[in-house]
Amino acid sequence: MSGWVRWFRGAGRRFGTVAGLMVLCAILWTLTPHFLTVGNALNVMEQTSINAIVAVGMTYVIISGGIDLSVGSLLAFSGIVLAEGLKAGWGTPLAIAAALFVGAVTGVANGAGIAFGRLPPFIMTLGMMSVARGAALLVTDGRPVSGFSPGFRSLATGQALGVPSPIIFTLAMYAGAHLVLSRTRFGRYVYGIGGNEEATRLSGVAVRFHKTMVYGVSGLASAVAALLLTARLNTAQPIAGINYELDAIAATVIGGTSLSGGEGSLGGTLVGALTMGVLRNGLNLLGVSSFLQQLVIGVVIIGAVLTDALFKEKRP
């Protein structure tokens, strides 16, 4: 490979996602004057926050070489636990703790089935997708739970210095999760397991334990997203979060995380989630029908994965 081709490929990998987002913004800016306003920008980020938070867990899972299809159902289930707790008068802190605990534990159950039961991640989380959805429907008898205290709702409706709290939440989540992924032993092992599980095991790493924890992180992220969604809508729906796994996978992959594992970053995923959000928002502003929107978003996802494959160096 000649020098400039290598440079181009490296640059493509690093800046492709950011460049793609900027081009998209530029196009939307020329097409509609409403796009580039502070109000709309905050709106996009707020809309994106739920998907962005779910995608934090998805990024951990995909870097470790797995996939988590149960995130949307876990979100619904933790949301219901939260809502029922609030309704039962547990108090906001305890209800929140219970929801986060349930999300994390359900995620750990996913991980245990995969790491210790040796189930393929696709199958285990597909099963859990149905289990958690069923549990949410069962507990609520299929009905939404709504009407919470203003104190709880301020989680999503509050703001600091004019910045809506979901944005602050999201940025804090990304900062924390990024530090864990890049600075801790756990984070390094996540990359190792995704890059070469056997070599990581032979280096004395407790692969099964760390794999289990990765899915716990994903469950926890879904539960955090459930807090925000429930507070924003003032309702917890047992049918919330349907198809959220697709959005989270799309954000992660658009952000440059390799579906074959071992490579990726949360910074990329944040840009990927924003790209999805900007695209949705732009199509709405342009009055594109929701049917056509689905089609366009699917094409973008396929395009992102194709581009990634083209820019990627061959792995032996």
Partner: protein
């Protein structure tokens, strides 16, 4: 080759389970089927297929050297990146690993250089026994000589090396003791000084005992 050599190496390294037998290092029993316990007992494993079992190709030279050593190179679960970098750089220069920097991804390095990265990992882990399965397979002549040189330095410093090889000149040239395996058993123990290629082959093929 069907003689059971790789299986033996993997059992010693804790990679696989054995139905019988024990592994002892310095007269202390090593819990079986656990790479972690093998490493703690001072065993380092250079697998036959280093791309499949040895290296994480998507990680850097430094990160690959660090993989079994992070428990020592971290505090409270947080990787001490300065210490990690220093250690990695030290081993890179000591083993003359040809890489522009420790942050280079191992996928970009040549076979011999990759093998030295695996070796550096175990030296950093202060391994007392290195189990090397075909350590020079698929490696160019220059790097081969360097690896032999490193092996001699290691044994001079008191480390033990269990090398598995199909390359008879290599076996005769590097060994102190030679064990010939056939059908999963050790057929003979030979003193390397008196051994010849014919003798080793005869035992390996079952023509003499």
């Amino acid at each position: 080759m069907g003689a059971g050599r790789t299986e033996l190496a993997r059992i010693i390294a804790g990679a696989d389970r054995s139905s019988t037998g024990r592994v002892l290092v310095e007269s202390r029993r090593v819990p079986p089927n656990s790479p972690r316990h093998a490493i703690r007992a001072g065993i380092g494993f250079l697998p036959e297929d280093r791309k499949r079992d040895g290296l994480v190709l998507t990680l850097s030279v430094g990160e690959n050297i660090g993989l079994p050593n992070l428990t020592r190179w971290s505090r409270g679960g947080i990787v001490a990146r300065g210490a990690e970098r220093e250690e990695a750089e030290r081993w890179v220069s000591e083993l003359h690993i040809k890489t522009p920097h420790v942050a280079e991804r191992v996928v970009r390095l040549s076979g011999g250089t990759q093998q030295k990265v695996v070796l550096a990992r175990w030296l950093a882990a202060r391994a007392k026994l290195l189990v090397m399965d075909e350590p020079t397979r698929g490696i160019d002549v220059g790097a081969k000589a360097e690896i032999y040189e490193l092996m001699n330095q290691l044994t001079d410093r008191g480390a033990g090396i269990l090398m598995i090889s199909s390359d008879l000149p290599e076996v005769l040239g590097m060994s102190d003791r030679i064990y010939v395996m056939r059908g999963g058993r050790i057929e003979a123990e030979l003193d390397a000084r008196g051994a010849t290629e014919e003798r080793v082959l005869q035992v390996a093929l079952g023509l003499a005992s």
